[in-house]
Amino acid sequence: MEELPSITVSQREQFLVENDVFGMYSYFDTSDIATQKFMVEIQRDKQLDYLMNGLRQLGPSFSSLDANRPWVCYWIIHSIALLGESVDDDLENNAIDFLGRCQGSDGGYGGGPGQLPHLATSYAAVNTLVTLGGEKAFSSINREQMACFLRRMKDTNGGFRMHNMGEIDVRACYTAISIASILNIVDDELTRGLGDYILSCQTYEGGIGGEPGSEAHGGYTYCGLATMILINEVDRLNLDSLMNWVVHRQGVEMGFQGRTNKLVDGCYTFWQAAPCVLLQRFFSSQDMAPHGSSSHMSQGTDEDHEEHAHDEDDLEDSDEDDSDEDSDEDSGNGHQVHHTSTYIDRRIQPVFDSLGLQRYVLLCSKVADGGFRDKLRKPRDFYHTCYCLSGLSVAQHAFSKDEDTPPLTRDILGGYANHLEPVHLLHNVVMDRYNEAIEFFHREA
């Protein structure tokens, strides 16, 4: 290879994006406080308008134009749930009814009524129904048939196929196991050889590619990691290099890129930040013991621990990242701040720049009129809205050691007005809805 050109296409594009992003940041930095406050505000009402409108535009009977209607349902309904709202009864019934028509007679959900059942759309459908919540939504899922469908999609190489005669990849593995885990239908047959398949997709960089030999990619890394955690084999991955790969996907723009040397994109806010938090929690609590723990068991202990008086001794060796813990600024916004020291010990320093990430999402991905986008100059869409909001929620809660601990005001760019519901990191559904669903499906078993 002789001479290398002085500037490549990727570099020019990168330069242009940086220019846009830093232009936005410097405008923000030089604005007065009131403007700044406005700029970082999530604009709940605008967001809800955009989302509700989208839901209605799906048509009264949710016509089945393309091959991913359940995804559109999930993107919108999950986004609404993240904002702490829910849809009205009509829309809810409509959605349950529509998804029911996507459900195949042999199990699984297709991209629309009559279409072949497909793992990705099944995942979207199940997550939508979990997010809607309630007996009617839950019981509309045919668990037994779903288990049969998942078994049919299982390949002898350990992985899963997206649909009958379809492609095998890490997405398929994740969606299958996420569904099985929520519906409480995981068994040996589904997990057999799966860990080996995912392992074969981890690259030397540390991230995970879509299939063996592929380049590491944010979306697949999330899918692969979540799958390995769900089947309890996460320690087989090279977690050191995975951590290294994922933290370095956050660039100077403060957003995440999806692959090495690609442009920043708002949707990776979720795909990359969630693995960061999952890995950090894994490293810091070494979850080996709790075989057999179920969510019910430890639920009872939560309150008990809160009541424990705080031990004086712990104040001295509290984490040094909390040394800036001066009196809690801005506690007058309705959020109850209990004993501050309880927070100190329930807090960690995230392995990525959480506030920087929130800044990128709110200043560059947010569209003032509602919705979120990949980056400045790009149009908004429901996919990016869903994953920007999900990622924003992950970033807001990244300072807490667990989902029980509400974030401090200073963890949330824009303060509590921007607070989003915490999500279950392995399924990306809002925590409360997850708990309700898990209880239902464990009762079912």
């Binding site: 290879m1 290398l4 050109p5 570099q11 016509s63 134009l65 393309d66 091959a67 995804w71 991209g111 497909h118 649909h163 009958n164 005669m165 379809g166 995981v186 997990t191 690259t203 960089e205 879509g210 592929s214 590491a216 990619h217 955690i229 769900l230 320690d235 087989r236 933290v247 692959r259 090495t260 040397n261 690609k262 949707c267 810091s284 070494q286 979850d287 080996m288 709790p290 075989h291 057999g292 723990s293 179920s294 969510s295 430890s298 639920q299 202990t301 008990d304 621990h305 001794d313 712990d314 309880t342 010990d345 990525f352 720049d353 990949d374 996919y383 050691k401 667990d402 279950h424 990191l425």
Partner: protein, 679 residues
């Protein structure tokens, strides 16, 4: 659908789009009817073509076409021309669908399906790929498909490597091309293809990537490739035995029961069970360690069929650490004698790394076991103090050499070119102006160099590495914890790199049979490393650090006393690895963060019906179901330990209720929080 921008429609466009939607809806319902009625006429198939050309993501239509093709093929008398016509039409449809959306999973997959029917002309496929790869050089579908075509048509990897030359030459930021290069080279190097010997090829690759890195150091692509090269330079595929306990040439002193003897130069070891652990530590996880792959030659009776167990989490059958228990008290009295024990690792093939490489060179080591006849009755069980009764290690003595062979040089490794390559890189990166990635790469290079170089220069490298990580922590606070962990690893490597360094941290505990005590307190460690060099340690003081977990300590099978006071342990689950330490009697976890919040791991580690079987139906579990439920994480760890002394004070979980729970779970406990228990 990820990342595919959807256009925002302007009002005037909406009418057109509505018309289009209506048309599509018509097509779709017509298609569905055909599909469900299995109609494969020309008109019906043409209709699916139209649908796919508009919406390539309609995967149901791709499946319909597969069925239609199968149907057609079954009707013709395998006339090669007809077959070709049918399959060509499929390729044409895929191509035009890809022009509509070249990220369509269904379209690419359909093309693979057609090719695997045996219809292929390489030239065509590569030409098509060229087109798409020029349009979007990072399209991973296209790259995946390229690898598929190459494999199917057995195109040479050398040719493909040349293709990456071209791609990188025209755009060195194209990481996908770098990635493919690493995949191809891995394969070529592994099978030692002509002209692809690591000692020749890897230095060439360093030169290539330097070109990219130094042209623009902010471009990430080259850095990652560089990291891969470093891996290739350092890693040896064949698994090696890193260390063992007892080590080669060492002498150990064995007792029945506990003893108060004083043998300063030896490891004294007593156990009620009359056996001692034999520990093998490999440089990578291996499986297949058994009494046939590892043989023991000694006069100690009853050790013919040793049971080897992997020391690993869960039930994995591969591990870096393997342990067997050697009996030294058999029915025949054999006290007061010295025994030579010869261990042969890799006696017969069967030890295989998790990546599938064989432990090839068999390795033999010999140690001497002195078995004493002083059977003392269980002596009065005093409290173990971490402050009094310690003797400083005599740095001049050769004691340490008798305990552990600290450095097993990887003699069989052809290390010259590796050292040269790394040294050259280090020189180069020292010149690179300060950048985060430059510092990080330099730290990694130095770490690699320290691993394969002589003792004498190691210390210097470690000091430089520690400085680099300190700089990085200050420079790049968003990745603070990552650098912090790396800093801890480097620090522990430094401490264990030489006899001088290590003996500064070693002590003898007079009250504990002169047990070897290692103090690594107050070093702000956030992570444990280098345990392979510490297998002989019996008492370990890690107090006043920043540890979150005990992972790694499971290899230290001789450990009987462990001090973790004032760390950042948050739950008993974080102590899980201690369950492997059968000798552990004294544990201090005072002043940690245990119990400050619920340890509901199901929040991200979902319970599955698979794992429910273990939940307790044993004694304590059924006697005190509510406490066992409340303290399940403590329960799972403590019930497997054999503790005599536990300190838990200064944790939120501590209190009367927890104490009474502990007494139930650990009935043999004598000291709790410094107080003797009334029995």
């Amino acid at each position: 659908m990820h990342g595919r921008p959807r256009k925002a429609y302007k009002p005037e466009e909406e009418a057109a789009s509505a018309a289009k939607a209506a048309k599509l809806r018509g097509l779709q319902s017509q298609f569905m009817a055909n599909h469900h009625n299995k109609i494969y006429t020309k008109e019906a198939v043409d209709l699916s073509t139209k649908l796919l050309e508009i919406n390539p993501e309609a995967y149901t239509a791709w499946n319909y076409r597969k069925l239609a093709v199968e149907d057609k093929l079954s009707r013709i008398e395998s006339d090669p021309d007809l077959v070709k016509t049918i399959l060509d039409e499929e390729l044409r449809v895929v191509e035009s669908a890809l022009k509509q959306n070249f990220k369509s999973y269904g379209a690419w997959h359909h093309r693979k399906w057609v090719l695997s029917k045996g219809h292929s002309s390489v030239g065509n496929e590569l030409r098509l790929l060229d087109q798409f790869q020029k349009l979007d050089t990072r399209n991973f579908h296209a790259w995946n498909y390229r690898r598929f075509v190459v494999e199917l048509t057995k195109r040479s990897e050398q040719d493909e490597l040349e293709y990456t030359d071209d791609m990188i030459g025209s755009d060195f930021s194209n990481y996908s091309a770098w990635h493919n290069r690493s995949v191809l080279l891995s394969s070529l190097l592994a099978r030692k293809a002509d002209g692809f010997l690591p000692n020749k090829k890897i230095p060439d690759e360093y030169k290539l990537v330097q070109n990219a890195i130094f042209t623009d150091e902010d471009d990430q692509s080259g850095w990652f490739y560089h990291l891969w090269l470093l891996d290739q330079t350092v890693n040896v595929e064949t698994p090696l035995l890193t260390s063992s306990w007892p080590s080669h040439g060492s002498r150990i002193s064995l007792y029945a029961g506990c003893s108060n003897g004083s043998f300063s130069k030896l490891t004294t070891f007593g156990s009620e069970s009359g056996s001692f652990p034999l520990v093998l530590y490999f440089d990578q996880a291996v499986g297949g360690v058994s009494s046939s792959t590892v043989t023991i030659d000694s006069e100690l009776k009853g050790n013919e069929d040793l049971v080897w167990e992997p020391v690993s989490k869960k039930n994995s059958q591969v591990s870096c650490v393997w342990v067997a228990r050697l009996k030294y008290i058999s029915s025949e009295p054999c006290f007061g004698k010295e025994y030579k024990v010869k261990v042969r690792v890799g006696n017969s093939p069967g030890i295989v790394s998790s990546r599938g490489f064989n432990f090839s060179a068999s390795y033999e080591f010999v140690f001497t076991a002195h078995v004493h006849d002083t059977v003392e009755e269980s002596s009065q069980e005093g409290i173990v103090s971490w402050t009094d009764g310690f003797d400083i290690w005599d740095a001049e003595s050769k004691d340490l050499n008798a305990l552990a062979t600290l450095d097993r040089s990887n003699a069989q490794m052809d290390s010259k070119w590796r050292q040269e390559a790394i040294a050259e890189e280090i020189d180069l990166f020292r010149e690179l102006p300060d950048s985060k990635i430059g510092k990080l790469t330099l730290a990694r290079l130095l770490m690699a160099k320290a691993m394969i170089s002589d003792d004498a220069v190691k210390g210097v490298h470690y000091n430089e590495i520690l400085e680099l990580y300190k700089d990085l922590m200050a420079l790049d606070s968003s990745h603070y914890q990552y650098y912090k962990d790396e800093h801890s690893v480097a620090l522990l490597r430094k401490v264990t790199s030489s006899t001088e360094d290590l003996s500064g941290h070693l002590f003898r505990c007079r009250n504990m049979n002169n047990s070897v005590c290692l103090r690594l307190n107050n070093l702000s460690l956030s992570r444990i490393a280098s345990v392979e060099k510490l297998l002989f340690v019996q008492m370990l003081d890690l107090s006043h650090n920043e540890l979150h977990s005990t992972e790694g300590l499971e290899a230290m099978q001789l450990l009987s006393c462990l001090n973790l006071s004032r760390n950042r342990i948050r739950s008993f689950s974080a102590l899980d690895s201690l369950r492997h330490l059968k000798q552990l009697r004294v544990l201090d976890v005072s002043h940690n963060h245990i119990g400050e919040h619920s340890v509901d791991t199901t929040r991200y580690l979902c319970s599955s019906p698979l794992s429910n079987s273990e939940w307790p139906q044993d004694e304590v579990g059924s006697q005190m179901p509510s406490l066992a439920t409340k303290y399940w994480d403590a329960y799972f760890v403590l019930r497997d330990l054999n503790l005599k002394q536990l300190d838990i004070t200064g944790n939120v979980i501590a209190g009367d209720e927890f104490s009474s729970f502990v007494l139930q779970v650990v009935p043999k406990l004598v000291w709790l929080d410094g107080k003797k228990l009334e029995i």
